[in-house]
């Protein structure tokens, strides 16, 4: 099973699908933008400001999803001692970090017309800020540590500690009184958002997921080339 993660097998696949993912991302993004900005209806309470949801919510979902995946793989780094797991986590982190920043900035912009303030230290917003800090620490640990083995361990520990923050983000709106509204899209319960808004939200989420996949493939390719360059230098 672990052989499927062999860098030499994946490099071949990456080069094949990179262009396809890019083309698909552009198509889905254009479709999502038309749906989100033109075709979807305005909200009866929030009017057109609700359209910010179509960039804010997918960014938050994907940054959370990527960090959860990084944390799980970080356990794998310790359990299976598989170096490729840390290569995957390192390649996933930049897009996760950018998505967490987008979620914070667009949330702040949305907060001004909705709550009358750009920022509030409430549980959901603060825990999202913590997620961005964990991403930053994870990326910085790779940048400042010259020893790869040490960088793997430090970054994995950061990701595992950061995993505690994920349920806090998810349930913060239920555990505490927050300015942030509760979740409208639920997996186990009935979704309280109308299909005319759910469709653009789903399309934009797909576009953002494709973008993070594209960035991951490019970054992973770069990391593999770095390893090969080191190999050639050692000859």
């Amino acid at each position: 099973m672990i052989n499927y993660f062999n860098p030499n097998n994946t490099l071949k696949i990456i080069n094949r699908i990179q262009k396809f993912v890019f083309a698909l991302f552009i198509i889905v993004l254009l479709l999502g933008l038309v749906e989100a900005l033109v075709l979807s209806p305005e909200d009866y309470k929030q009017s057109d400001s609700v359209r910010i949801m179509y960039v804010h919510v997918p960014s938050a979902w994907i940054s959370l999803g990527i960090f959860s995946f990084i944390s799980i793989l970080s356990f794998g780094v310790f359990v299976f001692k598989n170096k490729n797991f840390s290569l995957i986590t390192k390649s996933l982190a930049p897009s996760g970090f950018v998505f967490s920043i987008i979620a914070l900035v667009t949330g702040s912009i949305w907060g001004k017309p909705t709550w009358g303030t750009w920022w509030a230290w409430d549980a959901r917003i603060t825990s999202m800020l913590l997620l961005s800090i964990f991403y930053l620490l994870f990326i910085t640990s790779w940048k400042i540590t010259t020893d790869t083995g040490k960088a793997e361990k430090i970054s994995s520990i950061i990701a595992i500690i950061g995993l505690i923050n994920i349920p806090v983000i998810k349930f913060s709106v239920e555990w505490w009184n927050t300015l942030h509204q509760p979740a409208s899209v639920k997996i186990l319960e009935e979704t309280t958002i109308h299909s005319s808004m759910l469709t653009p939200l789903a399309i934009m989420t797909a576009a953002f997921a494709l973008f993070s996949l594209l960035i991951f493939l490019m970054k992973y390719n770069t990391e593999l080339l770095k390893i090969k360059n080191k190999g050639l230098n050692r000859l």
Partner: protein
């Protein structure tokens, strides 16, 4: 129609700035990652070209490296 789309009932500045920030972040991240990829590819090509015959023979013995070179680079 266009002014309505831009104005968005007075929320245009919030909506458009959110979308523009998102697309700018995407473009910035894509450009940074792409430039790094191009830089590493160039470095690999230069490193490979600078190898002497003995080292080239050593590389040729490593099947995976040889396969990747022939597949991804025009040397």
């Amino acid at each position: 129609m266009i002014s309505e789309l831009l104005n968005m009932n007075g929320y245009g500045v919030y909506v458009w700035s959110s979308f523009i920030f998102t697309l700018f972040s995407f473009s910035f991240l894509y450009a940074v990652v792409k430039l790094n990829l191009i830089k590493e590819k160039k470095k690999f090509e230069e490193n490979y070209k600078s190898l002497d015959e003995k080292k080239l023979a050593s590389v040729a013995k490593q099947k995976n490296v040889q396969r990747d070179i022939s597949k991804h680079f025009h040397i």
